[in-house]
C-alpha cells in the first residue's frame, strides 16, 4: 500500500517547468506546419483551406489548421514545428490585463458548443503534468469572480444568450480568450443557422488560441499572455 510513496519519490517531479525552462517532451503538442515553399497543389491539399498560395510559396492561416498533417507528408512537404506558443491577438483585441493580475487570474470556461476535444484539453491543464496553479491560474464556478472568460466552440444558437450573459456578469477589467479553431471562425462547423461561426460574433475577443484542440500548454500560454507574461504569436504566416 505504501508503495506509492516510494513510487512517487523514485519518479521524481514530472510537472513541466515551462515557461521557466523549455518543454520538449514527446506528445505535449501535435505541432503545426510553417509557411514555406510549395505550389498551389500543396495548398489545395489542405482540407480546411488553411494553406494559401503566396508569391514565394505557401502561407498558413493557423486559424483554420486542424493538424491533419496532410501537408507534412508527400512531396513538397512543409516544415513541421513541435511548438505550442500559438496564441495570437486579433486586431480588435484589448491590451493585456494590468500588472496586478500577473500573479493570479481567475478563469471561467464556457463550452459554447465545443465538440468535447477542447473540454478535454482544459481538464488537462489542472493535471499534475501541467498544474495550472503553479503559474497562478484558477478556475472559478461563476463569471462573477472571473477575470478571464475562456470560450470553446463555435457558439451554437442555444449558447448565444448564456455566453453574452456570462460576459456581462463579469466585473471589469475582463478579457475573453477564444479557444480552438471553432471559436475563432466556426472551424469545422462553419457558420450556419445553428452556429454563430466564432465567439467574436457575440462578444469581443481579446486573444485566440489556434488548434483543434489546442494542447494544454497552448492554453497556459494564452492565459499567461492575457496578463502580458508571454508574447502572442501571429495567426497568419506568410512564407
Amino acid at each position: 500500500m505504501a508503495n506509492w510513496v516510494f513510487h512517487s519519490l523514485s519518479r521524481g517531479i514530472r510537472t513541466t517547468r515551462w515557461p521557466t525552462d523549455p518543454e520538449t517532451a514527446a506528445g505535449v503538442t501535435p505541432g503545426r506546419p510553417r509557411a514555406g515553399v510549395g505550389s498551389a497543389e500543396l495548398a489545395a491539399r489542405c482540407p480546411t483551406e488553411a494553406l494559401f498560395p503566396h508569391d514565394n510559396g505557401v502561407g498558413v492561416d493557423f486559424g483554420h489548421c486542424v493538424h491533419c498533417q496532410r501537408c507534412r507528408h508527400g512531396d513538397e512537404a512543409l516544415a513541421w514545428e513541435q511548438d505550442f506558443t500559438w496564441t495570437s491577438k486579433p486586431e480588435q483585441g484589448r491590451e493585456a490585463l494590468p500588472a496586478r493580475f500577473s500573479r493570479s487570474i481567475h478563469v471561467r470556461y464556457i463550452d459554447a458548443g465545443a465538440c468535447g476535444g477542447c473540454m478535454g484539453e482544459i481538464r488537462l491543464i489542472d493535471a499534475p503534468a501541467y498544474n495550472m496553479h503553479r503559474v497562478g491560474i484558477f478556475i472559478t464556478a461563476t463569471p462573477r469572480d472571473a477575470d478571464v472568460l475562456l470560450v470553446g466552440g463555435p457558439v451554437t444558437e442555444a449558447m448565444r444568450e448564456p455566453l453574452r450573459k456570462a460576459y456581462e456578469a463579469m466585473p471589469e477589467p475582463k478579457r475573453v480568450v477564444a479557444m480552438g479553431v471553432c471559436a475563432i471562425n466556426g472551424g469545422v462547423f462553419g457558420t450556419s443557422f445553428a452556429s454563430a461561426g466564432g465567439v467574436a460574433a457575440e462578444i469581443p475577443v481579446d486573444l485566440v488560441i489556434p488548434g483543434c484542440p489546442p494542447p494544454p500548454l497552448a492554453i497556459i500560454h494564452a492565459l499567461l499572455a492575457v496578463t502580458g507574461r508571454t508574447e502572442p504569436a501571429e495567426l497568419v504566416e506568410n512564407p
Binding site: T142, R144, E161, K165, E168, E172
Partner: protein, 703 residues
C-alpha cells in the same frame, strides 16, 4: 402595588374605549390605555425588580377563599417582560384588527386585553387558587383568540384541540398542586416551597410531574406541545408575538415557583426536567427546519427556545439538589437570560412575520423572496432579528446559549456517573440544537429577504407599516444591548436566582474588575489585566465587562468572554475598514443583472427556496420525521407529462401520542354508542340500574 393597580385600571379604560362608536377614536383611546398600562406595569415591575416595591394581598371572598397575590423581584421580572411584549406588539395588533368587521375587530382587541391582563395576574399569584384561576383565564383567552376566525374550520379544530390540551393540563396541574398543598398543609405557594424538604419522594415526584407537564402545556414542552403548531397557525398573525413572547414565559414562571423548590430537593425529577427540555429543544428545531411557513417555523423555534430554557432550569435545579449552588446559579441565570432574550427576538421576528403576511398575503417562504430589495429598513431589522435568534455575537442569543452550555459543562464538579451522562447527553443535544438553529435562521432570512420574489404579491410589496417596523427597531436595539451589556444583565438575574439557590452567583460570574479585588485567584486576575479587563474602570457603572467563571482548585477550568469588548473591537475594525476603503480606494460599483447561470429564462420557481435549503436536514433526520410521500405520474401514451410528489410530515408527538389516543377514544365512543339503540324499555332499564347503583352506594356510605 399602586403602579400595578393603576396599570390594571388603564387596561380597564382601554376595554371601555372599545365601546366607543367611532372606530378611529376607539382605536386611539384603546392604544392610549394599553400604552399607559404598559408604562405603569413596567414601572411597577421595575420597582419590584429593584426591591423597592413588594406586597402581599389576601382577598377573602366567600366563594373564592384564599385568593392571594404577592409581588417580589422575580415576579416583577416576569411582569416586566409581559408588559413590554404587550406594549410593543399592541400597535400592530390594533392595526391588523382593522381587517375584521368592526365588531369583530373590537372583540379581538378585547380578548387580547383579557389575555394580557391574565399574565401579570399569574405572575402575582401567591396561592394555588389564584394561580389556577388566573391560569384558566389565560387558557380561555388563548382559546378564544385561536378559534377567533370561526368561519375557518381549521381554526375551530385548532381551538378545540387547544382547549382540550390546556384543560387536561390545567387539571393535571391542579391535581399536582392539591397533592402538594395537602402535603404542605397550606395552599400558599410559598408555604409549599418551604415545606418541600419534608415531603416524601412520592409526593415530590407526583407534584413535579403533574405540574411540570400540566403547566408545560403553555411552555411547549414535549409531549404536551401538540396543540401549538396548529393553534399558533390558526391564531391571527398579529397576536403571535404576544403568544410566543409573553404567554410561554408564564409556564417558566410556574416551573420556577412550583417545581423549582421541589426539584431542588430531588435530583431525579430535576434531571427529568433537564432531559425533557433538551429533547424539546432538539425536536423543536428539527421540526422548525421542516416548515416552510414563517409562522409555523417561528412557533417550532419558540418550542426549541423554551426547551433550552427548561433544560437550563432542570440543570440548575439538579445542581441545587447536588449541593452546588454556584453552578446552579449560573444555569438558572442562563435560563432566565435565555427566556428574556427569546421574548425580545421572538417578538421581533413574529411582528416581522406578521408584517410580511399582511403585506404579501402569505407567509410561505417558498412564495416569498427578494423583500430586501424594496424594504431595506424592514429587511435589515428582520435580518438582525434572525442573527440574534441564530445566536450570533454580538447579539443576545449568543450570550445565553453560551452560558447555558458552559453551565452544563460544570457537571465536572459532580462525580456521580449517571448524572454526568445525563448532563453530557443533554449538552450534546443543546449544542446540536444551537447549530441547527443557525441553519434554520439562515434559511429564514435568506429565503424571505434574498433571491427573487416567488409570487406576484411578494414582488409587489413596497411598504410595511410603522406599527411593525418601529417596535422591531426598538427590539433590535434591545437585542444588541442585552448581548453587549451582558455584565449589566447578569447581576440583576443573579439577584433573582439567589432565593432559590441560596447564593447569588453574580460574583462567580462577573468578577468585580472595576471595584477593587475580584473574587478570583490573584494570579489569574493579574494575568487578565493586560488584555483589558480593567478597560472602562471608573467610567462605566458596572462590575466589569468580562463574564468569567473559574472552577475551584479541583476543577480549574476557566471560561471567559467579554461581549462588550469584543463588540467594541469588531465595531472599530469595521469602522476602520470602512474609513480606509473610503480614503484609499475609489469606490467602483458595477451594477448588473442577477447572475442566473446563463439560463435563457430564469423563473422564480427555479430558484433555491427554503424547502430546498432544508432538504439535507430532512434527509438526515428522515427516520425521525418519517414523512409520507405520495407520488402520482400523469401519462400520455408512453410519455410522462407530469409528476406530482407530495410529502406530508406528521409531528412525532401527533404520530406517537395524539393519533393513538384519538383512535382509542373513537373506539370506546363507538362501544358506548351501542347503548343508544332506540329501545325505550332498555332506556328505562338503564335508569333503574343507575337508581339501584346510587341507592346501594348511599346505603354503603351511611353504614
Amino acid at each position: 402595588m399602586n403602579c400595578i393597580a393603576f396599570g390594571y385600571a388603564a387596561l380597564g379604560f382601554a376595554l371601555l374605549a372599545l365601546i366607543c362608536p367611532s372606530a378611529r377614536l376607539s382605536r386611539a383611546a384603546y392604544l392610549l390605555g394599553a400604552w399607559a398600562a404598559t408604562v405603569l406595569l413596567l414601572i411597577g415591575a421595575g420597582l419590584a425588580l429593584a426591591g423597592a416595591a413588594s406586597f402581599d394581598l389576601n382577598l377573602h371572598l366567600s366563594i373564592l377563599p384564599a385568593l392571594g397575590f404577592t409581588l417580589d423581584p422575580l415576579r416583577g421580572f416576569f411582569i416586566g417582560i409581559s408588559a413590554a411584549v404587550y406594549g410593543l406588539s399592541i400597535a400592530f395588533i390594533t392595526r391588523e384588527a382593522k381587517i375584521y368587521p368592526s365588531g369583530h375587530g373590537r372583540g379581538l382587541l378585547a380578548w387580547t386585553t383579557v389575555l394580557f391582563a391574565s399574565l401579570p395576574a399569574i405572575a402575582l399569584s401567591a396561592t394555588v387558587l389564584s394561580l389556577i384561576f388566573t391560569w384558566e383565564i389565560m387558557s380561555l383567552a388563548l382559546w378564544a383568540l385561536i378559534s377567533f376566525d370561526t368561519r375557518n374550520p381549521n381554526s375551530v379544530r385548532a381551538g378545540v384541540l387547544t382547549l382540550a390540551v390546556s384543560e387536561a393540563g390545567a387539571l393535571a396541574a391542579l391535581a399536582g398542586l392539591l397533592i402538594l398543598a395537602n402535603a404542605a398543609g397550606s395552599s400558599n405557594l410559598a408555604a409549599i416551597a418551604a415545606a418541600a424538604d419534608h415531603m416524601s419522594p412520592g409526593v415530590i415526584w407526583a407534584g413535579v410531574l403533574l405540574t411540570f407537564f400540566g403547566f408545560g402545556v403553555k411552555t411547549g414542552i414535549l409531549p404536551v406541545n401538540l396543540w401549538m403548531n396548529e393553534g399558533y397557525a390558526a391564531a391571527p398573525a398579529s397576536l403571535r408575538p404576544l403568544f410566543s413572547g409573553a404567554t410561554m414565559n408564564l409556564g417558566v414562571f410556574t416551573l420556577w415557583i412550583v417545581d423549582g423548590p421541589l426539584a431542588s430537593h430531588a435530583l431525579w425529577p430535576a434531571l427529568v426536567i433537564l432531559i425533557v427540555g433538551a429533547l424539546t429543544a432538539i425536536l423543536g428545531i428539527i421540526y422548525a427546519l421542516t416548515e416552510h411557513e414563517l409562522g409555523r417555523l417561528l412557533t417550532q423555534s419558540s418550542i426549541e427556545n423554551l426547551g433550552v430554557v427548561v433544560a437550563a432550569l432542570g440543570a440548575g435545579f439538579a445542581f441545587v439538589a447536588l449541593d452546588k449552588p454556584i453552578p446552579a446559579g449560573i444555569a438558572l441565570v442562563a435560563a432566565l437570560y435565555h427566556m428574556l432574550n427569546h421574548s425580545a427576538y421572538k417578538t421581533l421576528l413574529f411582528i416581522g412575520a406578521g408584517g410580511i403576511q399582511s403585506a404579501a398575503g402569505t407567509d410561505d417562504m417558498d412564495r416569498l423572496g427578494g423583500l430586501m430589495k424594496h424594504l431595506p429598513v424592514f429587511g435589515t431589522l428582520f435580518l438582525l432579528g434572525a442573527l440574534a435568534i441564530g445566536a450570533l455575537p454580538p447579539f443576545n442569543g449568543f450570550v445565553s446559549e453560551w452560558l447555558t452550555l458552559q453551565s452544563l459543562l460544570r457537571i465536572i464538579e459532580v462525580t456521580a456517573i449517571p448524572v454526568r451522562i445525563v448532563f453530557a447527553l443533554a449538552g450534546a443535544a443543546l449544542a446540536l440544537t444551537a447549530g441547527l438553529a443557525l441553519t434554520c435562521f439562515i434559511m429564514l432570512a435568506g429565503s424571505t429577504l434574498l433571491g427573487l420574489p416567488r409570487s406576484a404579491k411578494a414582488a409587489q410589496v413596497r411598504h410595511i407599516p410603522a406599527s411593525a417596523t418601529a417596535p422591531m427597531a426598538i427590539l433590535v436595539v434591545v437585542c444588541l444591548a442585552l448581548g453587549v451589556l451582558a455584565t449589566a444583565v447578569i447581576p440583576v438575574l443573579g439577584s433573582l436566582v439567589a432565593p432559590l439557590t441560596g447564593t447569588d452567583p453574580t460574583s462567580a460570574l462577573v468578577p468585580a474588575f472595576f471595584h477593587g479585588a475580584p473574587a478570583l485567584a490573584p494570579k489569574i486576575a493579574a494575568s487578565l489585566a493586560p488584555i483589558g479587563t480593567q478597560v472602562g474602570e471608573g467610567i462605566l457603572p458596572l462590575r466589569g465587562l468580562a463574564v468569567l467563571h473559574s472552577g475551584g482548585t479541583a476543577t480549574p477550568v476557566i471560561y471567559a468572554i467579554s461581549t462588550a469588548l469584543s463588540f467594541a473591537v469588531i465595531a472599530s475594525l469595521l469602522l476602520l475598514v470602512w474609513l480606509l476603503s473610503r480614503l484609499l480606494g475609489r469606490r467602483r460599483v458595477q451594477r448588473g443583472r442577477v447572475w442566473d447561470a446563463g439560463l435563457v429564462r430564469l423563473r422564480p420557481e427555479m430558484t433555491y427556496n427554503a424547502t430546498g435549503f432544508a432538504a439535507p436536514v430532512r434527509t438526515v433526520f428522515g427516520s425521525l420525521l418519517r414523512p409520507t410521500v405520495t407520488e402520482h405520474v400523469e401519462r400520455h401514451g408512453a410519455f410522462a407529462t407530469a409528476w406530482h410528489r407530495k410529502t406530508l410530515t406528521v409531528h412525532i408527538v401527533d404520530r406517537l401520542a395524539l393519533h393513538p389516543l384519538m383512535s382509542v377514544m373513537q373506539h370506546s365512543a363507538a362501544l358506548l354508542a351501542r347503548m343508544q339503540h332506540g329501545r325505550v324499555n332498555a332506556y328505562a332499564g338503564y335508569v333503574l340500574m343507575a337508581l339501584v347503583a346510587v341507592l346501594i352506594a348511599a346505603t354503603a356510605a351511611l353504614h
